[in-house]
Subunit: 310 residues, 2 copies
């Protein structure tokens, strides 16, 4: 049985021992994992920690403001880095899923490395959890925050990595968050991938295409909030399909709605949603987003699918 | 109120008057429309008609054999043209939906024109119905068998077109089929587009990709037969997605399942299917087709979507 209180006490001691008198930054995306890791390290080193939120232009609606507010509420020093243009620049012309992941990862670490230099720190905290480690080892995906396993030496970016949650599964991370006194808006949050909406735009990642999937994501989240599912989101296809809008033929966009039940993200079931709810989601998405003519619902479990598309 | 008996009698008279002593071929795909048109003209001109089934490599499993058997059973002279390689050749390298439609149409009319020359005929029968005419006029799609409206002059191919069903909607075509004594396997058949599975392979149409969507189509038809829907089929995406098969990551194929209720194809509703049935379809498709890792269900009505994807 996982004991969050004991784990927190041990972690704090270990973090203090590892970090010593060094200063630390934490890459905090607002997700459960990285926010819990940030709070934990804040408890251990206090003012020596600066939480960094990188606005890569790939976040959900209102997310940058939300994360900064949460960090401020808890008195954690923080910096918001506007890197939107820089991230879209590295995605330009890239359509291959693995190339996109690599481009994101490299830009992410370079940006963080720059902040690390400015802040004169030695350690960076990351919210890596056990499922990330397992899947990277098995080759299911190359998780962007499990560096050593994919042959990236963080020292070339000028710092060392601290991953205090790497032995935990998601439910235990949530327990820790509750024990640390984080707001339920954070601890009960659904998982959100590091490379964010870039994974949910099949094909090239542009500001226009991210805006489409961001809006669709907002609708899906609103319409599935009451279901308390493990994860729910929207994906924009690169494929197009015929449709009719205002009586005219439109070769338009396709959005897939993905909703899953899961304990730990290692396996997942496509959530069975009432037909009326699905109809409403399809109606809203096609009515509120002018380019979208078609909505699909993902009916595949993991395995054989994964939760995300890329 | 539509009177199939009277319509048949009038049509037969009109066809005889139009055709005179000419010989006729009919492009019979096995669909309700073209088969009813074939039978009607057979009643009018008897032995002067040769029904032609062009095997373009894009038909459903077992379809060429089925159509030839049905024609033989009714004593209609017929020819099966094996044009599989020729059709795949024209699709090579084409990914744009409208280009694919045009390539299909041109190859179709050239192939039929060749048969027309060999058979020394003047008229070709086609199963064009009212919905095709309306949608071509409105620019929703360029229906391959509404030639004059899209600026194709059939005479350059060496023949004239006979479209005895062009004023009818689908339900009346079915009534005519029943009145003509066609087997219910034909009269109650779901609609199937002229360019066949080429519309249901997004991106390039190759023999391998058609084989995938053909197998998926067979599974969808088997699993939805009891629902008596207007139309049900599978679409192969050009986009790919991550999945896991035999414990290994696989960047694999995506299949969308499309099932609709409709009266006349002008408007349609995405059929509400029990979750258990959808699960079974997804399981079968991902288990029986090695490259497929993900199954989606289309939840969009027409409008704003169309029934087909291209």
């Amino acid at each position: 049985m996982f004991d969050p209180k004991a784990f927190i006490e041990n972690s704090i001691e270990e973090i203090r021992k590892t970090v010593g008198k060094s200063r630390v930054i934490s890459a905090c995306s607002g997700g459960v994992d990285s926010t819990v890791a940030t709070y934990l390290v804040h408890k251990a080193v206090g003012e020596e920690l600066v939480a960094v939120f990188i606005d890569d232009g790939l976040r959900r609606e209102g997310e940058p403001e939300f994360v900064v507010r949460v960090l401020k509420d808890f008195g954690i020093k923080n910096r918001l880095i506007d890197a939107k243009a820089a991230f879209f620049a590295v995605f330009k012309g890239k359509t291959d899923a693995e190339e996109k992941r690599k481009a994101f990862r490299e830009k992410f670490y370079r940006t963080l490395g720059q902040v690390a230099k400015e802040e004169k720190i030695d350690y960076i905290v990351q919210g890596t959890i056990k499922a990330d480690v397992i899947e990277t080892v098995k080759g299911i995906k190359s998780q962007h925050n499990v560096l050593s396993q994919i042959g990236i030496n963080p020292e070339i970016y000028g710092y060392k990595i601290l991953e205090p949650l790497r032995d935990l599964f998601k439910p235990d991370v949530r327990k820790m968050g509750r024990e640390l006194g984080l707001p339920s808006e954070i601890t009960e949050r659904m998982p959100f991938p590091g490379p964010a909406l870039s994974l949910r735009v099949l094909g090239e990642v542009t500001p226009e295409r991210v805006a489409i999937v961001r809006k669709a994501t907002e609708i899906v989240e609103e319409e599935t909030r009451h279901l308390n599912v493990f994860q729910s989101f929207a994906v924009l296809h690169n494929d197009k399909a015929t449709g009719i809008k205002n009586g005219q033929r439109l070769y338009g966009d396709i959005i897939t709605v993905r909703v899953v039940d899961s304990e730990d993200a290692v396996a997942a079931k496509a959530t069975q949603i009432a037909n009326e709810s699905l109809r409403k989601i399809a109606l809203r998405i096609t009515q509120e987003i002018p380019t979208v003519v078609r909505c699909l619902y993902d009916i595949t479990d993991k395995p054989p699918a994964t939760i995300e598309f890329e």
